[in-house]
Assembly symmetry: C2
Homo-oligomer: 334 residues x 2
């Protein structure tokens, strides 16, 4: 299946350069790809970045306006379909493209996607998942911020969507799902997680493991960890912060003395493989789950390598046709 990916060239700290760097990285890593890209942005800004090597993959689509990092979601909606972000989403809605990728303003991207593409029946706000490195490779955690106050029903929907997502994206047959709690015993936690666990124990579409704790995320106890958007957002950022602190301190320690610098130099290839393991760029690109089309959000601060990972996620999910499975899982449980 050929995939056509719409890209908002104007989102992200390093835009539009990271977008073209990302496409180039993706094409380099997948030389036989049949993916095509519709890149939206003001022609005078975007066109000069299109190299001859990319010309056969990329079609540039002019947009008069852009959504910046400071644009409020409501303002982005009021700007209508003239921005590069809205036009890229529109391309998916009209069927010209199969997926849309943006590294721009998360709130605006979510608001525009909801209005233009609509959610599945019964889904109020889409969930945002993230892949966290773990001993087994990675664990999917959701929701990461779209839904602050969650009902038990919301958590059950996250469990279904997370299962489908991991099956399609990571080829995991029957992904196990854990519900994040303060202990693994059945009686722990608040009423919402208790009620959600009751629903999940007999759920036909979820391989429910039971409650899991904070350290189970990196221990890979389960494939999917479900939590409300408040806890999920805080936990994700705490993990990111810890990885960064650890990396800073390690770097500091290894440059303390001449000997430690020498040791680090000798161990360089292995330290590089370690660095890759925790490199957030290699976990970049997450789908807004609950929308009727494939919408991929890239981290705003990423570079070409990170943006290429987001493109790969989009391409993979198009090829594996994730939407019908999500819809069946969600609308079947109404």
């Amino acid at each position: 299946m050929t995939s056509c990916i719409a890209i908002d060239a104007m989102g992200g700290d390093g835009a539009p350069k990271i977008v073209f760097d990302g496409i180039a990285e993706f094409v380099k890593a997948h030389p036989t790809t049949d993916a095509k890209f519709l890149v939206f942005g003001p022609e005078d800004v975007v066109k000069p970045l299109l190299t001859p090597a990319l010309a056969s993959y990329v079609t540039i689509k002019h947009s008069a306006e852009i959504v910046t990092g400071q644009t409020k979601p409501a303002a982005a909606v009021r700007m209508g379909r003239k921005t590069s972000m809205a036009m890229a989403i529109d391309a998916v809605n009209s069927g010209i493209a199969d997926a849309v990728v943006s590294a721009g303003n998360t709130g605006a991207f979510m608001a525009l996607s909801k209005i233009i593409l609509k959610t599945f029946d019964g889904i109020d706000r889409p969930a945002i998942p993230a892949l966290i490195p773990s001993d087994k490779g990675c664990t999917l955690v959701l929701d990461l911020g779209a839904n602050i106050d969650c009902s038990a029903e919301n958590l059950v929907q996250f469990a279904v969507m997370g299962s489908v997502y991991m099956r399609k994206l990571m080829n995991i047959d029957n992904p196990s799902v854990g519900l994040l709690n303060v202990g693994s015993e059945d009686l722990k936690g608040n009423q919402v997680v208790q009620a959600a666990a009751n629903f999940l124990r007999d759920h036909p579409l979820v391989n429910f493991h039971g409650f899991v704790e904070g350290d189970d995320i990196t221990k890979a106890t389960v494939d999917v960890v479900v939590t409300d958007g408040f806890t999920g957002n805080i936990v994700l950022k705490a993990i990111e912060g810890t990885v960064r602190l650890f990396a800073r301190q390690l770097k500091k320690s290894l440059s303390e003395t001449v000997l430690s610098k020498l040791g680090a130099l000798i161990a360089q290839p292995s330290l590089a493989s370690f660095k890759r393991f925790v490199d957030p760029r290699l976990y970049n690109g997450t789908m807004f789950l609950g929308l009727r089309k494939i919408v991929i959000k890239s981290h705003g601060g990423t570079d070409g390598i990170g943006f290429a990972t987001a493109i790969k996620v989009a391409d993979e999910l198009v090829k594996r046709n994730v939407i019908p499975d999500l819809q069946a899982g969600l609308e079947g449980i109404q």
Copy 2:
């Protein structure tokens, strides 16, 4: 001020050995200490561990029974004042000791402490804080699990208690306090954190910074991070899990090849200083905040070095006379 510390010798995975190792480590690190220890446990088990070098510091107090890791809190309470844990707490209540330390069963230790020592007026359940390594040294996070459903008033109490604790334990003059949320903007989050922020903005005893996010914990944006016990417990365990994953992967990478092993060997002293930075034993020992006496919980899985840190925390808080300040802060805000 001389401090007399009551110790439950029978709590923790490595008890009673870790307790005597811990006292020995503490005395070695503080050779001029005037601290004395009352060590509670069955005489036949505990006495053989008392070395001549420690005899002048330690008095052994016989207990007929013990609380194990499997004892339910209610069962520990029903066992009365015959267990080493209850007797150690009792010693503080009767004024024989100034503080109590145990590495035993957290639920039982909390339940017995509440019944024997009582909480301050208006405090329902004491909070559990923890020190997390950060760029500035460490950040205090509370609550870590004692209070699952928190009201705005609970969060305000945590802010007051956390401020006093950091001032007394870490000598920080006017500790800054952040409220954990999904964003730092004033309008973010659920109703509870919104209401708590409103109280804290004009609070006379709290240097309120505003909302902080998950990654602010390790960034040392503030000295004290306040959150409910549900989120706090999950975040703490997620951070611990991330540190352990990182350490495992680093070790794996550094033993991949002959060269990386050589590099690691050469950089050994610096890697050791890095290891110290994330060594959980050096952050061990936390006070149950809200009780009328000093009660210090050590991690159950710690060793002598970790237990010595918990003893140091107890000794420090006795010398700095933390209880009147906590009481004034809490009962003043009723």
